[in-house]
Amino acid sequence: MRTFLMAVATSALCATAAAAEVKIGMITTLSGGGAGLGIDVRDGFMLAMEQSGRDDITVVIEDDQRKPDIAVQLSDKMIQSERVDIMTGIIWSNLAMAVVPAATAQGVFYLSPNAGPSALAGKGCHPNYFNVAWQNDNLHEAAGSYAKGAGYTNSFILAPNYPAGVDALTGYKRFYGGDLAGEVFTKLGQTDYAAEIAQIRASGADSVFFFLPGGMGISFLKQYADSGIDLPVVGPAFSFDQGILQAVGGAALGVVNTSQWNKDIDNPTNAAFVETFEAKYGRLPSLYASQGFDTANLILSALETADPSDADAFRDALRAANFDSTRGDFAFGPNHHPIQTIYAREVIQEGDIFTNKIIGTALENHADAYAAECKM
């Protein structure tokens, strides 16, 4: 098990230690197939910490290997022996469900930089739980809204057969409103989509919506492009983030996808973020990196006005969300999930690099569907 203890921006000349050290525990995925996401979140987060210049914050980073049991062990260790004040970092919803309820029940603040399962947004919401990214359904709802606006009336929709996949299709249908040419649940981790593509071809659909995160999406898009089917494709940003677009290549060109962030959102914070991230890590940031960066800046802004030891004051400071987000204005809804604008992006090629360009707004100031169920 690797532990990185990073004292942020250590200053050798600092003679007196700061009065109260703040300890942040980050559990994220740094090895295995899903490591690209965790690494982006971590890099975005650490970039903001470094830019803050604060030397009284310690970040403990651990790798959950995408396994819920390991995430739980790490979280117990962080809470009980490391005595962290704030936790963050988890990418996957099933890991978040294993860790977050126990952590918040023990009085730790948890800020999610990615996973947004519906259970934690609705009945299972908690005063110490904040989601800085999105509720899981949001980007799919935006895709449905975009499809409706584009005049599609007969979509073929597919997603893996697991809770987030079911949520994805539900989210799409919530805003789409047209007929379905087909609705297919694939196997989680499936790599061959020949059978589904044949069904799409035979279905008479006028558009395709898919939620296949990571490698599944790469496989689907390559095979879809090779099949000769010419229907428009819509999806959430998870299959079109900066990390995997290069692996999909030309097969993704022109595909519309929905995201709360893109590198061309026009505000000074975002411009500086994209520039400094690229300078430091030698690659363009993804939406995951922007989420890590925003999470760190939210924590930093709250630390300006309150200390985590004063839980009520610190919670109010987090809720105020008084920081410059890469997304522009940032505000929390009553269940501590963002109310935000979600954009439609198109995959384009800039020189040798494949990336996204915003082509319109899919949903304006959008809150999630579960906020009403949250009582806190």
């Binding site: 090895s31 295995g32 197939g33 490591a35 690209g36 690494i39 057969n161 079911v166 609705e183 297919v184 649940f185 694939t186 196997k187 981790g189 790599t191 061959d192 020949a194 059978a195 044949a198 069904q199 071809r201 035979a202 990571g214 490698g215 599944m216 790469i218 496989s219 390559k222 095979q223 090779d226 099949s227 000769g228 990390g243 995997i244 290069q246 692996a247 999909v248 290549g249 030309g250």
Partner: protein
């Protein structure tokens, strides 16, 4: 459900099956000849895909990528055999599982160390991209047809190697009694290294061929490895013919089950529920098949020893 769709799905099942065969053939040879459970076989599949992606990316030639995949996987296989596997032939199976599992971790993290955490790009060669129209008006991707062709050719080649050559006789003899053929003057350790490298090369080739239509990423080998184990258990351990029949059965069951089970449930359920039930049952399909085969033939379809 039209005939065209059914035929297209059968072709998909065949294509999946022959690629599984490339994986399973090496696995069954290694298990049959050396009595070794090699969990790291999936890593060799990954090595092939990464080598192909790296070389094809640098040179622009898919063919050079394939050659690199074969060479890299064979080399990695031979190296693993010489350095690690050779020491554990006589160890209990649990020790072999532990050692080859360690190899999976070493290969995965080593690959990440060299290539980074993000998936690599490997595309279908221009000449093979796009669909072709088959008799009867079926649109089918040319690349997948090519995969079926390559898989069948390799199956024939392997059969000829095992059944018609001196080397094949030695391999089959080694499977039955390794001490006896050593006593007859065959250099058994060289034979083992060769078989291991051959199995590795086949896995690497499968990785490279499939990598062009899938995602070339760390950990891509393990899901295929599980299926390959199912294939060799169905086919009978050590049997190339068994691996071939088993791979086609698994490929067809998995593909056709995934398509037709939900359709079947739609006859008496509403669409959403039928989809969920059908696809849940379909993902169990190959394991049910394995169970049925094992009840009927406890040593697999072509398993020799009782």
């Amino acid at each position: 459900m039209s005939t065209i769709l059914v035929i297209e799905q059968i072709l998909n099942g065949l294509q999946f099956g022959v690629m599984l065969f490339l994986m399973a053939a090496g696995l069954t040879l290694i298990f049959g000849v050396m009595g070794l459970i090699n969990l790291a076989h999936g890593s060799l599949y990954m090595v092939g895909a990464f080598a192909a992606a790296a070389v094809a990316g640098a040179t622009g030639s898919f063919l050079l990528g394939l050659i690199a995949a074969l060479a890299a996987a064979a080399l990695a296989g031979a190296l693993v055999e010489l350095v690690v596997i050779r020491r554990i032939y006589n160890a209990p199976h649990l020790d072999q599982v532990l050692a080859t599992f360690a190899l999976i971790l070493i290969f995965s993290e080593g690959t990440r160390w060299i290539f980074g955490s993000f998936p690599l790009f490997l595309d279908i060669p221009k000449a093979l991209s796009g669909p072709v129209t088959l008799p009867g008006g079926i649109q089918y991707p040319l690349y997948r047809l090519t995969l079926i062709g390559i898989g069948l050719l390799i199956a024939i080649g392997l059969w000829a190697l095992i059944e018609r050559t001196r080397l094949g006789i030695q391999i089959r003899a080694g499977e039955n009694d390794r001490e006896m053929i050593a006593a007859l003057g065959v250099d058994i350790s060289k034979l083992y290294t060769f078989v291991f490298a051959l199995g590795a090369a086949l896995a690497g080739l499968a990785g490279a061929l499939v990598g062009a239509i899938q995602s070339v990423q760390v950990g891509m080998g393990e899901p295929v490895l599980i299926l390959a184990f199912v294939v060799i258990v169905i086919g009978g351990i050590g049997s190339i013919r068994g691996a071939f029949i088993g791979a086609l059965l698994v490929g067809l069951t998995d593909t056709l089950g995934g398509v037709f089970l939900p359709e079947f449930f739609k006859l008496f359920m509403e669409t959403g529920a039928a989809q969920k039930t059908g696809s849940a049952l379909a993902s169990m399909g190959i394991y049910v098949l394995m169970g049925l085969v094992l009840i009927w033939r406890p040593t697999g379809l072509f398993g020799a020893r009782a």
